[in-house]
């Protein structure tokens, strides 16, 4: 008996050991060999290959080689980065599987002082610090074209010898995870295209930066330069837009000569694609408001009146759209407030039926104008970006004057109860604005039907401050998009230049999902505060006026006047102090509303349901007690 027990115990022990081994083996095996089969529950399908990606892969014109450089050794104590590397690797593998052999993927660990490390740096990857023992961390992707028919398994050729191209994603920042698919698909797309489309830029703003002064181009332009061959065009010498320009960006047009306008006019009528950015108040325009030499004035606004008139476009360069519902929060002198001229256009303000804006979530604009059609226009205006219906129009000068006190723009606010069009497609048959040049050779009087011009009534949306944030990861500065302004511009140019494959991938960011109810409370608080402030300021002004009225009476009975005046002055000062206190109380009370909401939610979540559970338990217990007592009787 005892020997039997001993043998069974041994058997159980061996079985347990075997079970542990099998368990560990299965877990490790499944993580390595089970393919990435998954269900993506995210609202934007962040982890599923987008149709655009599939199209790009299906349309690849030649074999591509991808090399993922990842410092396996240096990242052994960086689990977040290793986890993200698995994700990147899986996406690359899915793309490879989709390509049916056209994409070849290699994963390399560039250990310190190895040829692989030199190769990684040589191909444009950037190393981050923070690895084990201070080692550098590489985590980037190099893509290169391969000659047609070459053996995919062969050693990598020297790209310069074979005439291939090499492009890189310097570093996969985990905070850019929502753009992962786009970044890789863009790399594939760029490698696959024989050459970059040519686009032209005419701008009175320094969008291309200044190499002499060391100023970089605006981020939106640098993004365009990755996809397109961007040429700067000097409007002063412009007589004809080159035929190879697929898209022309006209940014902040001011004082263009007739020759330049005519060139643009004919470019559009000839089928060229034009994107116009005008602005009633371009905050990045550094032209002095008054020229010291000539005395000429400059309002920092831009317009295209001659062309707009013939296209049927109504645009007032002296009018700015305010929208208190879409006002962006800013910090001014340490105070948080909402700026009614700085707007965050959300999903409801973007046209989701248009390929350019369909997948975008948010566009930030500042002191924007708006477009309309004239009553006699034969063209159509298809909105891309709009304000909400809670918007009104004010003179641009008022917005400039209110730069120190943006909430003053809410005084006398009267919404027009209609959304204003901030960006749109102008579509139809366009007429030349220069009928007087009809006799010039090659002159075009009208465009083909369904010709198109993109109109945008803001230039500030191009500036970094409205959509780019700089963050640091492992000592590496990284630009992070907080809005889709860059995507909007790139989508426009892509759309107009005929490449639509990347559209469905872009703008899948959902990183910003604020508490909209709290934001609404804050806006209401700002409104109440302003109203109270105005009332109290009126009272203060009245008191001040009554004090002033006492001055002329000085000539009479001096002692009485002095006494009365002194009382009024004391009264005035007391009232002023009281008003300041009341304003602070109003502010405190409005903050308290937001805090009160938080408190109520905490009570509901922490106290209410547990209390219900206690109550149910007590009722159940009482019922059982009663039943037991009856049974006993």
């Amino acid at each position: 008996m005892s020997s039997t027990n001993f043998r069974r115990g041994t058997t159980t022990f061996v079985a347990l050991i075997l079970l542990a081994v099998v368990y560990v083996g299965l877990v490790l095996a499944s993580s390595r060999w089970v393919g990435p089969t998954r269900i993506d529950l995210t609202a934007d399908h962040l982890y599923t290959l987008a149709p655009g990606t599939k199209k790009i892969i299906d349309d690849l014109r030649r074999p591509l080689r991808l090399t993922l450089y990842f410092s396996e050794h240096s990242t052994r104590d960086l689990p977040q980065l290793r986890s993200y590397e698995q994700r990147v690797n899986e996406m690359l593998q899915e793309m490879v599987a989709r390509s049916h052999g056209k994409i070849h993927l290699r994963v390399v660990d560039p250990v310190p002082y190895s040829d692989d490390e030199a190769s990684a740096e040589g191909n444009g990857l950037t190393a981050a610090t923070g690895g084990s023992n201070g080692e550098r961390v590489f985590f980037g992707l190099v893509g290169s074209t391969m000659p047609a028919g070459s053996d995919a398994a062969a050693e990598p050729d020297d790209a310069s010898v074979t005439g291939g191209r090499t492009l890189a994603i310097p570093f996969f920042d985990p905070s850019r995870e929502t753009f992962l698919e786009y970044d890789i698909a863009k790399l594939l797309y760029e490698l696959s295209e024989p050459s970059k489309p040519h686009i032209g830029v005419i701008s009175s703003l320094p969008v291309m930066g200044n190499p002499i002064l060391g100023k970089p181009a605006w981020t939106v332009m640098r993004q365009l330069q990755q996809l397109f061959d961007v040429k700067t065009i000097d409007p002063d010498k412009l007589k004809r837009v080159p035929a190879d320009i697929k898209v022309l960006l006209l940014i902040h047009p001011k004082h263009l000569s007739d020759d330049a306008l005519y060139a643009i006019d004919q470019y559009v009528l000839g089928g060229g694609h034009l994107v116009v950015f005008v602005d009633p108040d371009a905050e990045s325009d550094t032209t002095p408001y008054i020229n010291g030499d000539t005395g000429a004035t400059d309002d920092h606004n831009s317009d295209l009146p001659r062309l707009f008139a013939d296209w049927g476009v109504v645009y007032n360069p002296k009018q700015v759209v305010l929208d208190r519902s879409l006002a962006l929060p800013i910090e001014l002198a340490g105070v948080n407030l909402m700026h009614p001229a700085m707007l965050g256009l959300g999903p409801e303000q973007l046209n989701h039926d248009d390929a350019v804006t369909a997948s975008l979530q948010r566009i930030n604009v500042s002191s924007a104008g708006h477009f309309d059609l004239s009553p006699h226009a034969t063209t159509r205006l298809i909105p891309l970006l709009q304000s909400s219906a809670d918007a009104e129009l004010v003179p641009a000068s008022r917005v400039v004057e209110a730069s120190g006190d943006p909430t003053s723009l809410l005084q006398g606010y009267q919404p027009g109860d209609q959304p204003y069009v901030i960006a749109a497609r102008l579509r139809g048959t366009l007429k030349s604005a220069f009928p007087d040049r009809a006799r010039q050779p090659g002159h075009l009087s009208t465009s083909r039907p369904d010709s198109e011009v993109i109109l945008v009534a803001d230039t500030d949306l191009l500036t970094d401050r409205l959509w780019v944030d700089t963050q640091t990861f492992l000592g590496q500065p990284t630009l992070v998009a907080i809005a889709n302004n860059g995507d909007f511009v790139t989508n426009l140019v892509d759309n107009l230049s005929g490449s639509s494959a990347l559209l469905s991938i872009r703008g899948r960011t959902t990183s910003q999902r604020p508490f909209t109810r709290v934001l609404a409370l804050r806006r209401a608080a700002d409104r109440k505060f302003l109203q109270k402030e105005q009332e109290l300021e009126h009272e203060l002004a009245d008191t001040k006026q009554r004090l002033a009225e006492l001055q002329p009476a000085k000539g009479d009975n001096d002692s009485t006047v002095n006494s009365e005046q002194r009382q009024e002055v004391e009264q005035f000062l007391k009232r002023k102090l009281a008003i300041s206190k009341e304003l602070r109380d109003v502010q405190h009370q409005l903050n308290a509303e937001i805090d009160a909401l938080g408190f109520r939610l905490k009570v509901i979540n922490i106290v209410l349901v547990p209390s219900l559970v206690v109550l149910i338990g007590l009722l159940y217990g009482l019922r059982r007690m009663r039943r037991n007592r009856r049974a006993r009787v």
């Binding site: 039997t4 027990n5 069974r8 115990g9 159980t12 079985a15 347990l16 079970l19 542990a20 099998v22 368990y23 560990v24 299965l26 877990v27 490790l28 499944s30 993580s31 089970v34 990435p36 089969t37 998954r38 269900i39 993506d40 529950l41 995210t42 609202a43 962040l46 982890y47 052994r76 104590d77 960086l78 689990p79 977040q80 290793r82 986890s83 084990s132 959902t510 999902r513 604020p514 508490f515 909209t516 109810r517 709290v518 938080g598 939610l601 905490k602 509901i604 979540n605 922490i606 106290v607 209410l608 349901v609 547990p610 559970v613 206690v614 149910i616 338990g617 159940y620 217990g621 059982r624």
Partner: protein
């Protein structure tokens, strides 16, 4: 009715006959709320997602799941009902499965009762509810893994206290296996392959992967394997005890 279902129903009912279930639910809900709002700073951070809520679940389960599992078999052994149970026409596998399912459903009920936080986040903003669904599912799977570990360990001992402590200890190890600080501490002494294997065995790593909103078959497989392995181990121990 199948024996598994019969055991499940009996076990579920036994939870609610005594105040233990209600005490557990109250503690679970209060702690979940406090951790979410005060440790996770849910309201003040102003973001419409439940990341602060789910990030606390591994630690919440660490304390509360052993309290559920410790009485599965330890009490049976102590009060003598184990002998009675093992003489009934119910196989060990069925008994183990029934007890486990009852406990898992009970913890699932606790999870469902946190629905006010889901209502709250939808009231305050527009969260990605797909990610929240994945978070709840991942949380329940993790609870199942913890319960399976607890069920197995409670077969080792007659003492509920010992069962609680051992279960909590094993769960801590599985949580810490994927933590950066722990990996850093051991990096100098353990081979890299062993470190990577430990990370793959970490509960936290697979839970976090699901909570991002993606149900990957490998993460699901990990949890299923973990539950099956620990329950099987428990059955083996019970089988050994039955012979004595």
């Amino acid at each position: 009715m199948s024996p598994v279902m019969a055991v499940t129903r009996r076990e579920l009912r036994s939870f609610f006959v005594t105040p233990v279930a209600y005490v557990f639910l109250v503690i679970f809900l209060v702690l979940a709320g406090i951790l979410t709002f005060y440790v996770g700073d849910f309201y003040e951070r102003g973001q419409a997602d439940l990341q602060p809520f789910f990030a606390m679940h591994p630690w919440l389960y660490l304390i509360l799941v052993p309290a559920v599992s410790m009485r599965m078999w330890a009490e049976e052994s102590k009060s003598g009902t184990q002998e009675l149970l093992l003489t009934l026409p119910v196989s060990l596998v069925q008994a183990m499965l029934g007890k486990f399912l009852a406990a898992w459903l009970f913890v699932g009920l606790a999870l469902l009762l946190t629905f006010p936080i889901w209502v709250t986040v939808n009231y305050l903003g527009s969260p990605d509810n797909g990610i929240i669904v994945a978070g709840y599912l991942g949380s329940w799977l993790m609870a199942g893994a913890f319960l399976a570990i607890g069920a197995c360990i409670s077969t080792f001992t007659r003492s509920q206290v010992v069962a609680f402590i051992l279960t909590a200890l094993v769960c801590v190890l599985l949580i810490l296996a994927g933590q950066a600080q722990v990996m850093d501490f051991f990096q100098g002494t353990l081979p890299r392959k062993l470190m990577n294997a430990a990370a793959h065995l970490s509960l936290l790593r697979h839970f976090e992967a699901i909570a991002r909103g993606v149900l990957d078959i490998r993460d699901l497989l990990y949890f299923v394997l973990t539950i099956v392995a620990w329950l099987t181990a428990g059955v083996l121990v019970l089988d050994l005890k039955r012979t004595r």
